[in-house]
Amino acid sequence: MIIYVVIFSILAVLLVASALFAIIQKDLLYAVIATGVISLILSVMFFILQAPDVALTEAAIGIALTTIVFVITIRNTTRNEDEKEINSK
């Protein structure tokens, strides 16, 4: 099944790309959205690796709950990594 080879490599590249994005971005909100995306991709990967339970857990914990916890933290602290003023776009 060559298609899975392709899918796996695409997902792997996207996973690493969004991880790098999460680390490099100065705007923490982008980093948080990126962790959401990482959870999303990971969840698909778990699904293909025949682990539906884990995919479910990763989706349930990673996409919604982790995101809200991070977002609340950003709300209560600062949105920019270097704590400079940024316009809120």
Partner: protein, 125 residues
């Protein structure tokens, strides 16, 4: 699923991305100054670990270890259930640690009005 001659590519992409996630996460933990970034790094490293866990349990041509009606009685291979069970536990624990870490970040910010390590100087780092 049998990957045939492309086995290596799959191996590299799964293990490679998992290890890359771990390393990127640890890099953020060690280098970044912003506390929230550090916590993000931790959760990235955790994510890599989880992927690694599931990957070692995978079996070529296996299906999920659930004996639902369509599977009972057929001769099917199933993937190893143990790593999946462990990673479930690990994910929940990881979330608990992340939540506690972030609450500490919030409190630090309230005291010091900054979320950067290099500006919180009352203790040595």
């Amino acid at each position: 699923m049998d990957f045939g001659q492309y086995q290596n590519i799959v191996t590299i992409s799964v293990y490679g991305s998992a290890i890359a996630l771990i390393l990127i996460g640890l890099y953020a933990v060690l280098i970044k100054k912003n506390l929230i970034k550090i916590v993000i790094g931790l959760s990235l490293a955790d994510a890599g670990i989880h992927l690694l866990f599931v990957a070692i349990g995978y079996l070529k041509g296996g299906t999920a270890p659930i004996f639902s009606p369509s599977v009972v009685g057929e001769n099917v291979t199933m993937v190893d259930p143990v790593p999946q069970a462990l990673v479930l536990t690990a994910i929940v624990i990881g979330f608990a640690v992340t939540a506690v870490a972030l609450s500490l970040v919030i409190r630090l910010y309230k005291h010091h009005n900054t979320a950067r390590i290099d500006q919180i100087k009352s203790l040595k780092w």
